[in-house]
């Protein structure tokens, strides 16, 4: 165990953890940030997606020692219950969520996709979220929501 300082959603946290432990487990078990989900444990499903310096990454594949002194963003750092982020709002308005378990991962993947490419084509959106799995929706409404979020961001 070693003292590790992490910057998450703009706040600094000190935790005492093994540095090889996956970032996901530290977020969930040590810091109570359970918006980051766990599922496949093998980098396939994308429910544990977080942003590291703005880039989407799967937190089950990142040892916590790797992200010391990096800016981390989890779904808790996007909007608040009163004021959702544009992407979150678009997911709600487009009915893109069913059971909701995969949503934090999709929302963060979408945020980073739109930061890189503010007006993606449908093909680019599909490619951009192919690291995330949703078992309920069939993806159509998720793609709609990301298109809608892109439109709203452009109008801003």
């Amino acid at each position: 165990m070693s003292e590790t300082e992490l910057t998450i959603n703009g706040r600094s946290h000190t935790v005492s953890v093994d540095p090889h432990r996956p970032l996901r487990d530290v977020l969930r078990q040590e810091l109570g940030l359970t918006g980051t989900k766990e599922s496949c444990d093998s980098g396939v499903c994308g429910v544990c997606t977080v942003l590291v310096e703005g880039d989407a990454t799967k937190s089950c594949l990142v040892p916590v020692g790797k992200v010391v002194d990096k800016e981390l963003t989890t779904v808790e750092g996007l909007g608040s219950e009163e004021e959702l982020s544009e992407v979150q709002r678009a997911f709600v308005d487009c009915f893109a969520s069913q059971c909701g378990y995969c949503m934090p991962g999709f929302v963060l993947a979408a945020e980073s996709l739109l930061d890189d490419n503010p007006s993606p084509t449908v093909e680019e959106i599909r490619e951009g979220i192919n690291g995330n799995i949703c078992r309920c929706t069939g993806y159509v409404k998720i793609v709609d929501a990301i298109q809608e979020a892109a439109r709203r961001r452009e109008e801003r």
Partner: protein, 287 residues
């Protein structure tokens, strides 16, 4: 006690490796974390080399590109000069996993992990690429074709660190492609075929390279099929002959999900499609 050491130079990384009884090198971490979880490695120290500047550079010269071992797939995808110089190399990168993995996964990491399902070694084989490895002050170059000793086993000595991957840019009258089959986007490749063809001044095939992913314990070239094409006009009959030679020489490992017969058919079709596709990129194609 577990340690995580972020090296700031190759020398520093070597020192950290020497200082620990059981250290392992980590680059992007996309495979190392799986190995840790499966208990396939349990080092006391992880030596992270992904902050070493010289390992993160892409250097272009007129006819070659030198790619640092810790250059990520994302870096490769966004390198416009590379895309112009070897389009099929970058297109193959774009098809790897999802963007989260490409943001962190490195070309050097994939080579060192040596899992035969990884796509880029087949592409590198068709480009006659080489790698350099460093141990202390000693540097040696190894062709990618000699880099693999067996399943998930490379020619690297324990103290050696892979530093660069060196690739020749496509000469005139040459083209290439990579085709692969995955059950769904981003899954492990069940069959993958890279093809590069080059013509001589008379319009005959001077160089044929065919690299295969998931076709055995290590990434391999289909040398017999290559020789069938070389010296020919790459007419349909010659493509058929090359593909049939490839099929009869395939020596596939067992797979729990996909039978050998099925995979042989996939390899055959992908190869035929790939050769035809590359032919359309070459001058004088009448199709």
């Amino acid at each position: 006690m577990q340690k995580y050491y972020r090296a700031d130079s190759i020398r520093d990384a070597h020192r950290a490796l020497r200082d620990s009884e059981d250290a392992e090198v980590i680059a992007g971490g996309q495979e190392v974390m799986l190995d840790l979880r499966r208990g396939e490695m349990s080092p006391t120290t992880l030596v992270d080399i992904s902050d070493v500047d010289e390992l993160c550079e892409i250097t272009h010269t007129e006819d070659a590109v030198r790619i640092g071992a810790c250059v990520t797939y994302r870096d490769l995808e966004t390198d416009a000069e590379l895309r112009t110089a070897i389009p099929y190399f970058v297109e193959a990168v774009e098809d790897i996993a999802g963007r989260q993995v490409r943001n962190y996964g490195t070309l050097g990491g994939a080579l060192c992990d040596a899992d035969p399902v990884f796509d880029m070694p087949a592409v590198l084989l068709t480009l006659d690429a080489g790698v350099t490895a460093r141990s202390g002050d000693e540097t040696r170059t190894i062709p990618v074709s000699g880099f693999y000793n067996g399943h998930c086993d490379t020619d690297l000595a324990p103290e050696e660190i892979l530093t660069t991957i060196d690739v020749q840019k496509l000469p005139p009258r040459a083209g290439g492609t990579y085709r692969s089959m995955t059950p769904r986007d981003g899954d492990a490749t069940v069959a993958g075929v890279a093809v590069r063809l080059g013509l001589d001044e008379a319009g005959l095939c001077q160089t044929a390279r065919i690299g295969l992913t998931s076709a055995g314990a290590i990434p391999t070239r289909a040398s017999d099929a290559e020789s069938v094409l070389e010296g020919t006009e790459i007419a349909d009959t010659q493509i058929d002959a090359a593909v049939s030679s490839l099929r009869s020489n395939l020596d596939l490992l067992p797979d729990p999900l996909f039978s050998r017969t099925y995979r042989k058919t996939v390899f055959t079709r992908l190869t035929a499609q790939a050769i035809r596709d590359v032919r359309t990129q070459l001058p004088g194609d009448v199709e």
